[in-house]
């Protein structure tokens, strides 16, 4: 009983800026509570992720937090953990298994809606370009789903015309730059808004827009409230980003993990059926879930939401803004 | 009279830009050994490749009759030729180095069923064939562990194993030393007794006269004529080949050797990757400016190892000294050696001498960039000029200097190799088997060239497996025996018998000769 609690954290990849950041946060939180956290990243390979979860089970972890590369593929790993009586928490991305102890996340479809709304705040008619995430990422599809929920009525009304709909391989910024250059060329710069799916790709696209003098004029959305993204917002280039306060999600994950490990009851979870969660009729069973709000962040509330809460450092974000135009330091 | 087993009628074969065979007609009688002679590029190998199915029916015109039936090979008919009883030893070694002797001998017709090979049968049959013809080869070892000579014996054994009606040997002895040649001659006689027909292509006229019944001579893709061997002479054949009279095989030369340039004393070396396994032991000799030192010895006696060690490219020197004009030198690589004025024309021109896919020009200049390139940039005009002159001096037969070397005939390729190292203006020139696979006319040219170089004061070391050549060209002859010096003989005291005795280690017997 003296043995410290051991938490396993299995991460899909390290190329998405969020994950290394959240890994660090969780590591610290676990240590604060006297638990040990071990983590592995799977380099976008679902098979490797399953292997790594197996290896964690072997190391005697008490509970596993999974950021799945592939929500369906990770299910068999969750079942394997279940056989050893190890509870699993799906983090951010759903694992399609009713053996899950919990699923905690932001609402990914809501992320997409927020992105679309953030752009529509600035421009609500004209030529829209959609820049999806990696065509191989499940979440990218969910983001698009949310975006379309908001845009579709306006498209049907004829206010909005989607002139380009492309996906960015690997979420790679360099690919986004190229694609945006080509879109602008194809449309002779007649783009009125860009709905991009995360900060990395949005900043890539902004390079192309900057070259046409469109940065800051044409609204463009992002996601994750990364340092680079927020910096771009205060510099009037990126229009908005979606702030998913992982500092809420991460502590919740760790608290929950420790409770699961100690076999204590966990509160605030609500059962959802897998069918509800995935819109897939073939899946049965249900999962205890908890969803966090996402916040759309733009120039007006970036200081309030992101900086003041300490999510990003003041200096990282305002370093290129002249002193007199900066908000006061906290 | 019986109908000939093989008959060529107006066979013509062209390659882009070259007429390799022009209206060839002649026939081969059942059971005879027919010799084919001709200069390099005369078309001998090309004709044989037609027989073997390498060049299919639709790539040449005219007709070839085999057993009275016209040959009609489609592309990829090599197997078909074989099944019809045509076996061939190609001029260039065609072995898979990583595979064993047994596997190479049966490659493509292994015993067993359609899918699976019967190894036991394969090796026992291999042993059987080797025993029958008294050839000594390790059946289970990879071919790569054998020297060129023994590899050629593998090729011959392969052809023998095919139980062919007609056996074609395209320069089978170019890599064989005298002893092995005798083994081959014996085998051929046995086969003849068994009624096998044989076509024997060789530049070594002694052999042709020893073994053949008739000789057909090619020149420039045409048949010049056919002679009954017993009724003709070397001179006549040579005249037919080169189109003029040639009385001398070796050009006359009066040589006055001057000071010693290269001196090797007590040189010993181990195999490079097997330390402790001696390759050369206690070798001492010297060469003078303007002298030709012949190096003779049996296959595998270490002649090539000796000269490549001097050139810095073989073995690991464990003792002894090498002096150049009195100064001790160290050679760790070909580069070092060339800097000290030593050049080596290697024995295997395809592997060691040429970049086959490049032009004559680039091959010739490769070893001599110092002459055309200062720090970085190459003076292409100077390069072209100098190479053109060299090619002209050696009378390389080619449309232009930009022709790709692989398209040249063997003899002309050899000339390119020689030209490349001649241009480096060496103090000591080493030639390892310089006339391998070369016709008499070209040989004569190369001998003249060696004489000329010697006269200009170059010290020459010539390794050769052809005793007449060694005897004809050298001032002194070093005989190698199992990695040691068997003896060094002055030219006027040397005879074939004496050299053979030294080469086989019978030193005392040699002294009596």
């Amino acid at each position: 009983a003296d043995k410290p609690i051991k938490i396993g954290l299995s991460i899909s990849d390290f190329e998405t800026e969020r994950w290394p950041v959240e890994e660090a946060i969780m590591k610290k939180l676990a240590a604060d509570q006297g638990a040990e956290l071990i983590s592995q990243q799977a380099n976008h390979d679902p098979k490797l992720q399953n292997d790594q979860i197996q290896n964690m089970i072997l190391q005697g972890v008490d509970v596993i937090i999974i950021i799945a590369e592939d929500g369906a593929a990770a299910a068999s790993a969750v079942e394997e953990a279940g056989r050893d009586g190890i509870p699993c928490i799906a983090y951010d991305r759903l694992v399609k298994s009713d053996k899950l102890a919990a699923y905690i996340s932001f609402d990914n479809v809501e992320v997409g809606r927020t992105q679309a709304r953030g752009v529509l705040d600035k421009v609500n008619k004209g030529n829209f370009a959609l820049l999806g995430g990696s065509p191989t990422d499940n979440n990218a599809i969910l983001f698009r789903k949310g975006q379309m929920e908001v845009l579709q009525p306006l498209i049907d009304k004829g206010d909005i015309k989607v002139v380009a709909d492309q996906w960015v391989e690997n979420w790679a910024p360099a690919n986004a730059t190229k694609i945006m250059e080509n879109i602008l060329t194809a449309e002779a710069n007649k783009i009125d808004a860009v709905v991009a799916s995360n900060d990395g790709t949005a900043l890539g696209a902004l390079q192309a827009m900057k070259a046409q003098g469109l940065a800051g004029k044409v609204p463009i959305s992002g996601q994750d409230a990364t340092a680079a993204g927020c910096k771009s917002i205060v510099e009037n280039e990126l229009t908005m980003t979606v702030y998913k306060d992982v500092r809420l999600l991460s502590p919740m994950a760790i608290d929950m993990a420790i409770k699961f490990a100690k076999k204590e009851p966990v509160e605030g979870l609500k059962d959802f059926t897998l069918e509800e969660l995935t819109l897939d009729k073939s899946l049965s069973g249900s999962v205890p879930c908890k969803f966090l709000k996402v916040v759309g962040v733009n120039k007006d509330n970036v200081y309030e939401e992101v900086v003041k809460s300490g999510f990003q450092k003041y200096d990282d974000i305002y370093k290129d803004i002249p002193e007199d135009q900066r908000p006061p330091r906290i | 009279m019986e109908k000939p087993i093989l008959q060529f009628e107006s066979v013509t074969k062209t390659f882009p830009g070259v007429i390799a065979l022009n209206n060839i007609s002649f026939s081969v009688d059942r059971g005879e050994i027919l010799g084919i002679c001709g200069e390099n590029g005369a078309g001998k190998s090309t004709l044989m490749k037609i027989l073997a199915g390498v060049h299919p029916r639709d790539t040449y015109t005219g007709e070839v009759f085999y057993e009275g039936e016209p040959l009609n090979f489609s592309a990829g008919a090599i197997q078909q030729a074989r099944e019809m009883g045509i076996a061939i030893v190609h001029q260039e070694l065609a072995l898979v180095q990583q595979m064993t002797v047994g596997e190479n001998i049966f490659l493509g017709r292994e015993p067993g069923n359609k899918a699976v090979i019967n190894w036991h049968q394969l090796y026992s049959e291999t042993q059987h064939i080797l025993d029958r013809y008294q050839i000594d080869l390790p059946i289970g070892k990879p071919v790569s562990t054998l020297g060129v000579g023994r590899q050629q014996m593998v090729e011959i054994a392969r052809a023998l194993s095919e139980k062919a009606k007609i056996l074609i040997l395209d320069e089978p002895t170019s890599a064989l030393a005298d002893q092995e040649v005798q083994v081959l001659m014996r085998i051929l006689r046995t086969l003849k007794e068994q009624g096998v027909t044989c076509i024997y292509i060789s530049h070594k006229l002694e052999e042709v006269f020893e073994i053949t019944d008739r000789v057909t001579v090619f020149r420039d893709g045409e048949v010049v004529g056919t002679k009954v061997t017993a009724e003709t002479s070397t001179d006549e054949i040579i005249a037919m080949m080169v189109g003029r009279q040639m009385t001398e095989r070796f050009p006359e030369a009066k040589r006055q050797p001057k000071e010693v340039v290269l001196e090797v004393r007590n040189l010993s070396a181990d195999w490079e990757h097997s330390p402790g396994k001696p390759m050369l032991s206690d070798i001492s000799f010297s060469v003078r400016a303007g002298e030709i030192l012949g190096v003779a010895g049996l296959m595998g006696s270490g002649r090539s190892e000796l000269v490549t060690t001097l050139f810095g490219e073989c073995g690991r020197i464990t003792g002894g000294t090498i002096r150049m004009k009195g100064k001790p030198i160290k050679v760790g690589s070909a580069r070092d050696a060339m800097r000290h004025g030593i050049s080596l024309i290697p024995e295997d021109r395809k592997r060691q001498g040429l970049v086959l896919g490049q032009s004559i020009l680039k091959n010739i200049s490769l070893a001599n960039m110092d002459q055309f390139a200062g720090f970085g940039s190459i003076n292409k005009h100077a390069e072209l000029n100098a190479s053109e002159k060299m090619a002209r001096d050696l009378s390389v037969k080619a449309p232009t200097l930009h022709a790709i070397v692989s398209s040249l005939s063997g003899g002309n390729q050899q000339k390119v190799v020689i030209g490349k190292w001649l241009m480096s203006d060496p103090t000591v020139l080493i030639l390892d088997e310089p006339t391998r696979g070369i016709d008499v006319g070209a040989k004569y040219e190369i001998y003249k060239l060696m004489n000329k170089l010697a006269a200009e004061g170059v010290a020459i070391i010539m390794v050769s497996s052809e005793l007449p050549e060694v005897l004809g060209m050298s001032d002194r002859i070093l005989v190698m025996h199992e990695g040691c010096v068997g003896g060094i003989v002055e030219r006027d005291k040397a005879t074939q018998e004496k050299l053979m005795a030294l080469a086989t280690g019978m030193t005392t017997a040699a002294e009596e000769l």
Binding site: I38, P46, N55, T136 | I78, V96, R109, E110, H120, S274
Partner: protein
């Protein structure tokens, strides 16, 4: 005498032994660093299971590389087969079956679907092999290019089929292929049968040799070798049974490896592949249909990619969009670590398996050790280079 023959055998297989030594060293290191958890039956069972998917590929890759070619498409091919097999059983077949045989029992439906899907997976793999092999052998396009193109095309195919979404569910019986274990009793039966076969082979082979008049190795040497292998087999079965039994995919891998060892060593197809890689011209001049040979080798590679894809689908119980990414590099690395020469002409299945095992051990061991991601990359890269360097050095020594 006996010892001399043994030392000969050892010398001839030095390369494989060097790598086995490297493997042992790596294992000991990991054992030491993980409080010997690494050596627990459970982890070893995991390790062997984890290596299978790439192993199928490296087995085929040996043959491809031996002919002097390369296949960069295998990763994508695995992805495609995985996507197709998932799509068949999750989306395409069930409604069809319900329509044709209304009221079919769940079990019958599951079995039918699993079998059909396996068949189709193999067909897709085979077709990939046929198309690529044909372009390489008969159109004469370099393998590097054909398979690089194939890599892109099949990756596109995966995206087209999955539409970026993971495909589930996978039949339970299908999952058994990759996730099931042999019951302990069956495991021991397999073990004893194999040992029996070894002994049968020992005597049969000696009799055959004798009948062809080939000189035999001393009986002692042959016996010792057979005993050694028997021991290894039984120890392996015991070890696996101490956890949950021999994992199905591991058994499958062993069977496939044996079949391919036989193909490479004892069939025309195999030997011609080596000959061709050693000297294509000479092989052609020996009357071998070299084009057909290359073609066949690629078809085999395609089939193995099919097997690998099927196992992958069972393994992750889903058809995913990123399945198989980079497996081609792992397979090639495994071959090369195992002594296959990229110049063609030499290489062995056993070596490739050892190579796969080394790569898999690194991944497994480092993740059991819980090493940071960037170190894992660096160490894998360094070990790869080092392993081959060791090989280069020992080869030079031998000369």
């Amino acid at each position: 005498m006996v010892s001399k023959t043994l030392s000969n055998i050892i010398r001839n297989n030095l390369q494989t032994y060097t790598m086995i030594l490297a493997l042992v060293f790596i294992w000991l290191l990991f054992g030491f660093m993980t409080d010997w958890i690494f050596f627990s039956p459970r982890n070893l069972s995991n390790l062997f299971r984890q290596m299978t998917i790439v192993s199928f590929l490296s087995i085929g890759m040996v043959m491809v590389i031996v002919t002097g070619n390369i296949d960069l498409s295998v990763g994508s091919s695995v992805g495609l087969v995985s996507a197709v097999t998932a799509w068949l059983q999750a989306i395409f077949l069930p409604p069809l079956l319900q329509q044709w045989f209304p009221g079919i029992s769940m079990l019958a439906q599951g079995t039918f679907i699993t079998c059909t899907t396996i068949l189709f997976g193999l067909v897709v793999g085979g077709l990939i092999g046929v198309i690529q092999g044909w372009a390489i052998a008969y159109l004469g396009i370099p393998a590097f290019i054909v398979t690089l193109g194939g890599m892109l095309v099949f990756r596109g195919g995966v995206l087209g089929i999955t539409q970026g979404k993971t495909i589930v569910p996978i039949e339970d019986s299908f999952r058994l292929i990759a996730q099931g274990y042999l019951p302990n009793s069956l495991g021991y039966a397999v073990g004893f049968l194999s040992v029996g076969a070894l002994f049968f082979w020992l005597f049969y082979n000696r009799k055959q040799k004798a009948s062809y008049g080939i000189t035999l190795r001393p009986f002692g040497v042959d016996l010792a070798q057979t005993l050694l292998f028997s021991g290894i087999i039984m120890a392996f079965v015991y070890l696996m049974n101490s956890y949950r039994g021999i994992p199905n995919p591991v058994l499958l891998m062993v069977v496939v490896a044996l079949i391919f060892t036989y193909i490479t060593g004892n069939t025309r197809l195999g030997r011609y592949a080596y000959a061709l890689g050693g000297n294509a011209e000479a092989t052609r001049l020996s009357g071998v249909n070299t084009k057909a040979n290359v073609f066949q080798v690629f078809v085999l590679m395609g089939l193995l990619a099919g097997v690998s894809g099927i196992v992958l689908t069972g393994y992750v119980a889903a058809g995913t969009t990123s399945g198989g990414v980079n497996y081609e590099l792992e397979a090639i690395a495994a071959c090369v670590i195992g002594g296959t020469s990229l110049m063609g002409g030499s290489g062995s299945i056993a070596g490739a398996l050892v190579g796969s095992l080394i790569m898999a051990s690194l991944l497994n061991g480092m993740s059991v050790m819980n090493m940071p991601a960037f170190w894992q990359f660096i160490i894998r890269g360094l070990v790869l280079v080092l392993a081959v360097y060791m090989d280069v050095v020992t080869k030079k020594r031998r000369g």
